[in-house]
Symmetry: C2
Subunit: 521 residues, 2 copies
């Protein structure tokens, strides 16, 4: 009296449609001695492309896509002596300063070394403020001795306090340390906050306004969480400005399909490099208030402002100074140790400041974060060092400031050089890189290359980027990975290669572009 079983296409066993209720119950009572399903054939898997989470299939993250994998393979081939038209791969795809030989800040590294191996506080020839800082961190650790202890899920209270002080000093307005959450990089904070929006409102899925072009963590996370991507175009002809009329257009177009509830602004812009003007931020905040949107202020490049006349204003500062009712907009602002002058990507650290969240909502967010235990203590230490940098008179002060300004000055020069060079190249047009770490030039592609790409089923700028990599070893990310106005082509390159290498790269680039254009003329 065993139940009839059928295999569905995806390999799952389904109850036979002919089995009667009595039979089914009889089988259940026998369950202790019979397998619940018939034996599967040995190649049957429970996870197949048919049964896999479809949102994971949809998710795309161009910055680490197949092109970057291919660059890694080429690098290995070169190491093994393969002959190529170039000698090295230049990874201009990722905002990874240390991979491009940027020098770490000495103070930060000395503090970490002492905190990790406290004997060094006694034995190493390090400045006193380094040792004091390490001691203060160890004292704030659970058990008061080891960075190997878990911290609070939101980071050490002491460091959250220092971040709040940093924000107060930056903005000239109070910040509450309880609203500061330390994270393993900005990405994890952004994901935690976006996840809060997974809910239907008035029968519609939630939509989130994101810039186009955008940093693809946003599109990837929206796909992963099943949230609606509502793109608003940045205005390339006006230096990638964020136009509120375009926000309205995007929101209006999406409102049939989505309950639009959040707005992402990346300032300084990634990949676009613009720095928002204060009045622009005011208009965005007004728009958010009028439409009950929570603002995600991605401000991880707040230290990376290069252009004359450009200045970083935080959304928090502007909102606070606008007064009621705009100072009640729900806001999450994100910061990272991976960018700025420190570039400590591998150590994974960052923070978010939450403003005006419903206290019950915030409590639920904190609860969800707590299941991930805590962010890396080492990332937290870096946060402490950049939130509370050595003060004038401290033994590490001069070296810290010197290292910081050397890095930022050099980045500013590279930002200028890269734009100037691109704009001298035929078929290239590049806006000023006011901030952040990238140039995002628009390129003209020969019609025949566009057709060729279409035949191959790839975006034309992806086709171009692949050829560039194979021919020259330069790895950039095509504009299609970030989004762009239909019919336009771009790519993102970092400004991070050191000056000499960057110059070389641009010469190679120019030669390649000429060759490519000629080939497909």
């Amino acid at each position: 009296m065993s139940q009839i079983k059928l295999m569905s296409r995806a390999g799952r066993v389904v109850s036979g449609a002919t089995a009667e209720l009595g039979e089914t119950l009889a089988v259940q009572s026998q369950a202790r001695h019979t397998p619940i399903r018939t034996m599967c054939c040995s190649n049957e898997k429970t996870l197949t492309m048919e049964t896999l989470n479809p949102k994971i299939i949809k998710l795309q993250y161009a910055v680490r896509g197949p092109l970057v994998d291919r660059a890694a393979v080429i690098k290995k081939e070169l190491e093994k002596g393969a002959k190529k038209p170039f000698k090295t791969v230049i990874n201009a795809n990722l905002g990874d300063a240390h991979a491009m030989q940027q020098i770490p800040i000495t103070f930060i590294r000395q503090v970490i070394a002492c905190a990790v191996y406290p004997d060094l506080i006694k034995t190493a020839d390090f400045p006193d403020d380094v040792k004091e800082r390490a001691q203060s961190i160890l004292k704030a650790c659970a058990g008061q001795k080891s960075v190997g202890a878990y911290t609070s899920s939101y980071g050490m209270d002491m460091i959250r306090n220092h971040v709040a002080e940093y924000i107060e000093c930056r903005d000239g307005h109070p910040a509450k340390w309880e609203n500061v959450v330390l994270c393993a990089g900005a990405s994890s904070g952004i994901k935690h906050c976006l996840e809060l929006f997974c809910n239907k409102v008035d029968g519609k899925d939630t939509g989130v306004l994101i810039p186009i072009p955008q940093y693809p963590l946003y599109s990837a996370t929206l796909a992963e969480y099943g949230l609606g991507q509502v793109g608003y175009y940045l205005d390339e002809n006006n230096g990638w400005v964020l136009d509120v009329a375009e926000l309205e257009r995007a929101m209006c177009d999406a409102s049939d399909k989505y309950a639009v509830r959040a707005l992402v602004a990346i300032n300084p812009g990634n990949p676009t490099g613009q720095v928002l003007k204060r009045e622009n931020i005011e208009k965005i905040i007004k728009f958010a208030k009028e439409n009950s949107l929570m603002i995600f202020a991605d401000e991880v490049y707040q230290d990376n402002v290069y252009a004359k006349g450009s200045k970083f204003y935080s959304f928090k500062k502007v909102m606070t100074e606008m007064g009621a009712p705009y100072n009640t907009v729900e806001l999450a602002s994100f910061m990272s140790i991976s960018k700025g002058y420190m570039g400590e990507c591998g150590l994974r650290g960052g923070w978010m400041e939450l403003c005006n969240l419903d206290p019950d909502v915030q409590a639920n967010l904190y609860k969800a974060i707590s299941a991930m235990l805590c962010p890396s203590t080492i990332g937290q230490i870096v946060v402490d060092c950049i939130a509370r940098t050595p003060a004038p008179g401290d033994p590490s002060y001069e070296q810290f400031e010197c290292e910081k300004s050397n890095t930022l000055d050099s980045l500013a020069k590279r930002a200028k050089m890269i734009v100037e060079t691109f704009n001298k190249m035929e078929g290239f047009k590049c806006n000023v890189v006011q901030g952040a770490m990238y140039a995002f030039p628009r390129i003209q592609l020969p019609k025949r290359a566009v057709e060729e790409a279409k035949k191959a089923g790839v975006p034309a700028d992806g086709f171009y980027a692949k050829r560039l990599l194979e021919d020259t070893g330069i790895c950039i990310i095509p504009g299609s990975g970030f989004g762009q106005s239909p019919g336009t082509y771009h790519f993102r390159t970092t400004i991070l290669p050191q000056p000499k290498l960057l110059k070389e790269m641009l010469v190679i680039f120019q030669a390649f572009h000429q060759k490519f254009t000629k080939e497909y003329a």
Copy 2:
């Protein structure tokens, strides 16, 4: 001709039901100059308990719940001089060895210090193998110089290779480095794999078999992802053994509601401390094969085996030795740097090994992981140190082995002592702690206390744990946070307090229990 807007209860603006199509279109064309929604009152929020992701509301994580928050508050009160019936809070709630004064492994910390501040390779009085290790890690970093560079999203290739070698050596069978993924602790690996299952199969949501009692990361993540929790009870009367008949019972009971597709086994057990016997693991693998389940082998306590006659067998090893068709079961095995003899919780590191996944599925998993950039390089360094420990003859060998065995021996003694003491206490019954870091005794609670708790709307063991904390400063986690058979009461305590403190804790515990029992007699 402006569109009529209505406010829904959650504060969202909805289109007026009376608006005709023509009107709506007219409004859309005006959108550039009119706000899309009417002005909200200033206290209106987009994220409220009504509009928040309901899965986040459902999510619970007892190990860091309100009780632990309360312990932190009490600790601060004590520091400020508040008078309490005790002088210190004893955090026996979390598997956090360093917070309980466990000494870090010197080799690990010296390698990190050198990798973070490479000058120490020249200047510090560290053994040569420390310096060589640090140099090999720096060479494997992008740019070959700094741990501040991002690594591959799956960890440095070199370290993944070392982990594969470790697994081969542990199991006596091959392991592929490409199937090893380094993570920021086991938790993030577990979450990434569980997320793959978010899909309906044959019209049913996916269910996951998890032990009861369980480590609450599982219940929290299932709630967060909307996956079905299918609990199977461990058999307390048989040393918390994992009985396959009970797996069948659980699966059968759930099969109407869920497509059960995965099985979590925690070995050694958390919170239950059992170490699975080889034959037991074989039966579980057979069950998984027969029912097309992917196995999640939570093996983070693989170094923590104390009881005579107990031995750790990995699911991978047993499956491999069972041969076809069992060696084709889909498996993810998880390991962490937070447990074992190293206890480096704060540094966030771990790995997972994937076996027999559909290659397309694995490629999609890898793609999803890539959006989070990379796990902490420091956590990766610890993984390298424990995957490739100093070899006999290496300068650090003896100290490493000595520190490792001191820690594990002491933990074994504490495991024994805690069980013996509990079993001498009236109303306590505790299984042998064969492995892991916790005791999970069953306690009898006076009927009147159970009623009192019911009145207060809290689980009876939660009521007990709260009183224990308030009266003695001892913080444990009630059994209800892990799940338990209905009508039984337990709690989890770590075995991590150092021997002297642990003895003191047990004396205080005994006195409290007597007092509590008397009070509610």
